[in-house]
């Protein structure tokens, strides 16, 4: 079987599909190859238990870039982002911290814990707005290498320098602190109450193998604020139908641009001839030819698995081997017979339509990390829980519910035993922890799916089950992502490109790597 395409995209996750859509939009004949039976990678909705839809891995949308939503007409293809406005932090003493879209109610509740914090809350939010605005610029540009004398790099750096100067001294200092400090230290500049600090810090550790007191975690805090800068366009919330529906929308757009998509189509190898990629070999032995091959897989797969290592320079091999892509989180999805009843806020109410965060104190999360540092899953984990069926009734039969629990920490590499042995023990730890706050939980569980980092790796191919295709720490961002010298989506092999979350600007359902890579590829072809 011999077919010829302009471009083959390996991996049908959201970045792969976005990359394909942009290439096809520019007139290229594009083929997307997905190993699994369904598209999405870590962005999938599956009916694991009949009638109940699980967002198996990723569960909320935070910063899907507005330009992608527009360029690909995603609302027309089914993108509908429903509001997810509240965060409830239940506390072990029966109290809680509750924040939602009602600004003054939120301030009143913060003030119950610390009147001082209520005053600082707006200041903090405002500061983060500026920081998000500063970083937004970087999310939209190709990262220039400061060691390079290439005119494009110099121009890019000059542009970046101008942008940074325009922030003013104070904001630039704050930005530098944000990039280097720990989430805890950064937050302690404003706040004193533990539930608030802990819950805010939690967004700084998501997806990392670091604790809230580890330097470098402050940067990830920004993810929560990125939506703000887009004003009314903001794309923060819950996608109707689960995150898989985002991928359906992107795939719909891609197909409309003429992209051919194949599922159950795993790729084993990229064919390299005379130093350039010429096609791929499929799991079934078929070869497919293309002028361009783009890998949306993580950097380890892209450089260590998909191509013969003889084509990869030694320094790059070493850098990729050292690339930090440690799995640290798990996902527990549950089908529930009834609505969960939260002890600190009993009954049915708007708090069930938001996030419930098990993050009572900084020490709590740091202790959860302590377990993980030495290769155990957290006995008392940090849990970010939502009840998708409360937001979108179509996720479960009427009156029944699905619950999505993001769990940290669950290290990929266990000190003792294997994940196949410990999977249900982790599930029990999560259910036991949640039951302290939700007394009726154990009585209403119809089905439980425990997705360990090993399961994430097996199902999606993400190395170690790391949700961001590599940690979002300063050492792996911008011109350092995935590794210095290869941050612009190219590889040492001509016509072989990368477009996954392992490239700039990183993970989360942003679509930015897929789009920026497509724009770079098109530059090379023009």
């Amino acid at each position: 079987m011999s077919q010829k395409y302009d471009a083959i995209i390996i991996g049908g996750g959201h970045n792969g599909l976005i990359n394909a859509a942009y290439l096809a939009r520019a007139g290229k004949k594009v083929l997307v190859l997905e190993r699994r039976y369904l598209l999405g990678g870590a962005t999938v909705t599956e009916e694991i238990y009949p009638g109940f839809k699980y967002s198996v891995f990723s569960y909320v949308v935070s910063i899907l870039r507005p330009e992608i939503i527009r360029d690909l007409s995603l609302p027309k293809h089914g993108l509908t982002i429903l509001p997810l406005e509240s965060t409830l932090t239940p506390l072990p003493n029966g109290d809680y911290l509750y924040r939602d879209g009602d600004h003054f109610r939120t301030l009143r509740d913060i003030a119950r814990h610390s009147p001082r914090d209520a005053g600082a809350y707006d200041d903090y939010s405002r500061e983060m707005f500026f920081m998000a605005k500063a970083v937004k610029y970087m999310l939209g540009i190709i990262p220039s290498d400061p060691t390079s004398l290439n005119p494009k790099d110099l121009m890019g750096l000059a542009g970046l320098g101008k942008h940074l100067r325009s922030l003013g001294e104070e904001k630039l200092y704050t930005l530098t602190k944000l990039m280097t400090m720990s989430a805890a230290d950064f937050l302690e500049q404003w706040f004193e109450s533990d539930p608030l600090k802990a819950t805010l810090s939690a967004s700084g550790i998501i997806g990392t193998y670091l604790g809230p007191r580890s330097p470098g975690t402050a940067y990830v805090l920004l993810h929560h604020y990125m939506g703000e800068i887009d004003g009314a366009f903001r794309a923060w919330g819950f996608q109707k139908g689960g995150t898989g529906a985002i991928v359906d929308a992107i795939a719909g757009a891609a197909r409309e641009f003429g992209v051919e998509i194949r599922t159950d189509a795993g790729v084993t190898e990229v064919i390299v001839k005379n130093g350039r990629a010429t096609g791929v070999v499929m799991e079934n032995g078929d070869e497919i030819q293309a002028d361009i091959v783009v890998s949306s897989l993580d950097p380890k797969r892209t450089f260590l698995d998909l191509v013969d290592q003889k084509y990869v320079p030694d320094d790059l091999l070493t850098a990729i081997r050292n690339f930090k892509i440690r799995g640290s989180s798990a996902k527990i999805n549950m089908a529930l017979d009834a609505a969960p009843d939260v002890a600190c806020m009993p009954g049915y109410g708007p708090h069930l339509r938001g996030a419930i965060s098990i993050s009572p104190s900084l020490d709590y999360i740091e202790r959860a990390y302590d377990d993980a540092k030495y290769g155990d899953f957290s006995r008392r984990p940090y849990i970010d829980m939502i009840i998708p069926s409360m937001i979108d009734p179509d996720m479960a039969p009427p009156g029944k519910h699905v619950m999505s629990c993001f769990v940290q920490y669950a290290p990929y590499k266990l000190r003792e035993g294997t994940w196949d042995e410990k999977r249900e023990a982790l599930g029990d730890a999560v259910v036991n922890t949640l039951s302290e706050y939700i007394p009726n939980l154990k009585d209403i569980i119809l089905h439980r799916q425990v997705v360990t980092p090993l399961d994430t790796e097996r199902l999606t191919g993400l190395t170690e089950g790391n949700i961001f295709q590599g940690e979002l720490s300063l050492s792996q961002l911008f011109f350092l992502r995935p590794v210095p010298g290869y941050a612009k989506y190219r590889t040492p092999i001509k016509n072989y490109y990368q477009c996954g979350s392992g490239t700039h600007p990183g993970g989360g359902i942003t679509g930015a790597p897929g789009r920026l890579a497509a724009l770079e590829i098109l530059k090379d072809r023009s």
Binding site: R70, T80, P83, G231, K240, P393
Partner: protein, 396 residues
């Protein structure tokens, strides 16, 4: 002081926002929760419940009922079968719109009409000398609008005596709900799948309670006028006193509009027997209307650039705006946008309004006024087809 509707005891218990509007003398919730977002998405994603009792309602009956209604309405109501509903405006002698509403044919010789304004005298005067009676049944009926993709699922859980799957768009039927009679009309003001439910005021609270109870599993939310205003713009539906002014309220001639000028030309049945306003409308049809109704899509990227000049993201309100703004072509004002909103489901900033007919062609580029930090600027916009949002489920 506005008075409560028969649903007020229930609605007020849930109205955390304490934001109430005066709708035709009744208390109408602006929104229930502190933010209207969930109510908006309930319409598009689950189901929303609006108290629409404040609409005026009239019944026309008698041997000449059809003659009377057909003399008032611009549409040919003779074509309206029993069990069918027709939307229609009605005009004055000059062919200018007085009001609009729905006409339900209850029987061969009996019609029910909804209106935004008191219309008894007008309907009675139009029927002068005819063998027909017009009565005001506004307070005899409490009304709820149940709108959204799950509206039918919710009704099916408690309504008996009807086949809801075969109740088509713009049809109504009599039904039973927990032992009391209910009229179910597949109509609404949201451009989505939805129904209007009519019952005697004494059943109102019971109806509300059943709906909220059965609706819970389907994400039902009581919703107010703030969400309604966004969805009706998405649906390209006009609002009286906002998008056009009643000929009976206009103070100057230029404030009046004919159906042709506000996108309602399709409702003018010039081929039927004489009706109020027919002659001037016939002439207008021949000459072509001076104004035309348009939908506008404002260029968001341009808006971002405009606001970026002062370092801000686009400052558009989360609510629909009824503040009319000028529409320009090459710097010259050609009309006005009368309602505008950011559409969360479409992720587009859209407006409806009227422009001079010669500038109204689809796809044409115009400019719309926006205020950027106190400065009046012009944003790029394109004339597009309405409704902006038109899901298949509305009719299916």
């Amino acid at each position: 002081m506005p008075i409560p509707t028969p649903f007020y005891t229930r609605a007020s218990a849930l109205c955390e926002s304490y934001e109430w509007h005066n709708w035709s003398g009744y208390l109408a919730a602006g929104l229930y929760e502190p933010s209207h977002e969930r109510e908006y998405f309930a319409v598009r994603n689950a189901a929303a419940l609006f108290d629409v009792t404040p609409l005026f309602k009239y019944e026309v009956s008698g041997p000449d009922a059809l003659r009377l209604v057909n003399r008032v309405m611009t549409r040919n109501v003779a074509k309206c079968k029993v069990g069918q509903v027709m939307y229609s405006p009605w005009c004055d002698e000059d062919g200018k719109i007085i009001d609009d509403g729905t006409v339900s044919r209850l029987d061969e010789n009996r019609f029910r009409i909804t209106a935004a304004d008191p219309s008894l005298y007008w309907f009675q005067d139009c029927g002068y000398g005819m063998d027909a009676t017009v009565i005001d049944v506004s307070t005899a009926l409490a009304a709820l609008a149940l709108q959204g993709p799950h509206a039918r699922d919710i009704l099916k859980t408690f309504v008996t005596g009807v086949d809801l799957d075969n109740l088509k768009y713009f049809q109504f039927t009599e039904a039973q709900a927990n032992g009391f009679p209910l009229t179910i009309s597949r109509t609404g003001y949201t451009g989505d799948l939805g129904y209007e439910l009519w019952t005697a005021p004494e059943n109102a609270e019971q109806l509300w309670d059943i709906l909220l109870d059965r609706g819970r599993g389907y994400g039902l939310a009581p919703a107010g006028l703030t969400a309604l205003d966004i969805v009706r713009i998405e649906a390209g539906l006009l609002l009286i006193e906002v998008d056009f002014i009643s000929a009976h309220k206009a103070l100057i001639e230029s404030q009046k509009s004919s159906p042709f000028e506000v996108g309602l030309g399709w409702t003018v049945a010039l081929d039927k027997a004489d009706f109020v306003g027919r002659r001037p409308l016939l002439a207008e049809k021949k000459a072509g209307p001076k104004w035309q109704f348009v939908g506008l899509e404002i260029d968001w990227v341009f808006l971002e650039e405009l606001f970026d000049t002062v370092g801000l993201p686009p400052q558009v309100t989360g609510r629909a705006s009824r503040a009319a703004v000028p529409i320009y072509k090459n710097g010259k004002q050609i009309g006005q946008a009368t309602s505008h909103t950011f559409s969360p489901v479409l992720k587009k900033y859209v407006a409806i309004g009227t422009v001079e007919s010669r500038y109204a062609s689809l796809g044409s580029q115009v400019e719309i006024e926006v205020t950027v930090e106190y400065s009046r600027e012009k944003a790029k916009a394109t004339i597009v087809r309405t409704p902006f949002f038109n899901p298949e489920r509305k009719r299916n």
